[in-house]
Amino acid sequence: MSSRDPGQAAALDRRDLAWYVDKLAQILVFIGGISGIILILGIFVFIGSEGLPFIVSKLNIGEFFTSPLWRPTSEANPTYGILALMAGTASVTGLAMVVAVPFSLGAAIYIAEFARGRTREVLKVLVEMLAAIPSVVWGFIGLSIMNPVIIKLFNVPVGLNVLNAGFILGLMAAPIMTTIAEDALKAVPEGYREAAEAMGATRWQVVRNVVLPAAKSGLVAAVLLGVGRGFGETMAVLMASGHSINLPTSPFDSVRALTATIAAELGETAVGSDHYRVLFTLGILLFLVTFVINLTADLVVRGIGKK
């Protein structure tokens, strides 16, 4: 078919500036999107290639998970047991959650349901600012403030321990958990609150009977993301935990975390050595655990949509 007006056909075929800008924007956005995926895959391949050969050929898996002896630098008989490191990470993260969950849920409920107007806006900004404090600053607080306080208060020789690191980590994770939990509460339609209040429910009854059940999955996700945060945190834990290998029996024992071990030892190892490779194995383990935690949180959040 031919157009009756050749001029109009040419105009329809001409690529103008907007057309080129659109194409360019599409390409740039595509690169931006795809690079994230490539980076993640790249990291995965890198960690995997450095750690996997060692796991397959040399690592004694049984010893790896069940032995508390982490002696990678022993000349005669190096052992790579991470039980103590896992116990360190788990105990610090566990205590952190004991501190952070009540704090952050309380703060989120206050901000979302009780605070009004200016108070609320100011609090939200402050919480977001807390979340932006660098972890090394938290570690510094643990080292220079919490340490002497714990020594004095509980009359123990060392103040760098599970209690210190757990507390610091809890304070660190709380702002992020608060923000996510508050978002979950805000997502509950205002009509629910209004309907319940019209019935004569008090504010607290509304929160307890209507808002919390409706926001349940979002709140669970907030807690899980907090756990993931605690698990992966390195600097603050390295500084506040005492960094000594121990199976903790009380909150006053010093421990060492998985992440802190990698951070402290990787620079000291010869590239390609067993010690170097076992640290990458720890990296794979951390990667998997955080991945599972984040995935679970994601699935829980999606659970809301299904209802």
């Binding site: 209004e194 309907a195 319940a196 009854q205 209507v210």
Partner: protein
């Protein structure tokens, strides 16, 4: 103290004296004075933006959800000024509200109806069972949901959800029931069923029916008020008002469908 009703004259349930409702500088209702009598269905008609919903909000003091809303004047329920009730929640528990769009709380059908009794301290399952069945039956919903009391209330159809909210309002055992354009999201058949329910309920409580449907007011209301852009134009017996006996040109025009 509540004065005993004078012989022959129906007692006032709600007395409104010089009520003005303002949003910022704009008045939603100006200097309205009227009374709502005990055990009547009191219709309020008028085009959108006439202050009908605002008036309902004042009755159970839900003004806190609207930041700019201010009120002047007096509203008395059973002779008591509602602004003087210290326990706001006790006031609201006596007043059932049905909103224009049904709000099935994200709870099971059972829990939706049992919520209010639970909040006021009913704990025993047997007692709750009785209340739930009674309220659902009276809201003409029991037969449709009795086999799925455990499923989410928000999964019911629109018409069912609206009857669920009526059951929920009844579970408060209210002496004043406020309905705000309840039939907006409900099909005509369900609307008629709910209207039948309301006629029966009149014996036990006072009902305030805000509606956009003039004919609905004509069918149900004993007396009707006509609100127009913030002004209370007229209050009167529904039959007189609709019989074309209104003295006000605007009332006659609106009720006849000439505007609004």
């Amino acid at each position: 103290m509540v004065e005993p009703a004078a012989e022959g004259k129906p007692r006032a349930k709600v007395e409104v004296r010089d009520l003005t409702i303002r949003y910022g500088a704009k008045a939603a209702l100006a200097n309205a004075s009227f009374e709502i009598r005990e055990n009547e269905i009191f219709g309020i008609v008028g085009p959108a933006g006439s202050g009908k919903t605002s008036f309902l909000r004042v009755l159970n003091r839900m003004d806190q959800f609207v930041p700019e809303m201010e009120t002047e004047g007096q509203v008395l329920i059973d002779g008591n000024d509602i602004d003087r009730w210290r326990n706001l929640y006790a006031l609201r528990r006596r007043i059932g509200v049905v909103f224009p769009l049904p709000v099935g709380l994200p709870l099971s059908v059972y829990d939706n109806v049992a919520l209010s009794p639970r909040l006021s301290g009913v704990r025993k399952k047997v007692d709750l069972d009785v209340i739930v069945e009674r309220c659902l039956t009276r809201a003409a919903l029991w037969d449709e949901v009795k086999d799925r009391l455990d499923s989410l209330g928000s999964l019911l159809s629109g018409g069912q959800q609206q009857r669920l909210t009526i059951a929920r309002a009844l579970s408060q055992d209210p002496d004043l029931l406020l309905l705000d354009e309840f039939s907006i999201a409900v099909d005509p058949v369900t609307t008629m069923r709910i209207e039948d329910v309301l006629k029966d309920l009149r014996d036990e409580m006072t009902i305030v029916l805000v509606t956009n449907l003039v004919q609905q007011a004509a069918r149900l209301a004993d007396r009707t008020a006509f609100f127009l852009t913030g002004e209370l134009v007229e209050v009167g017996e529904t039959e007189a008002l609709f019989g074309g006996k209104s003295e006000d040109e605007r009332t006659r025009g609106y009720l006849a469908g000439r505007f609004g």
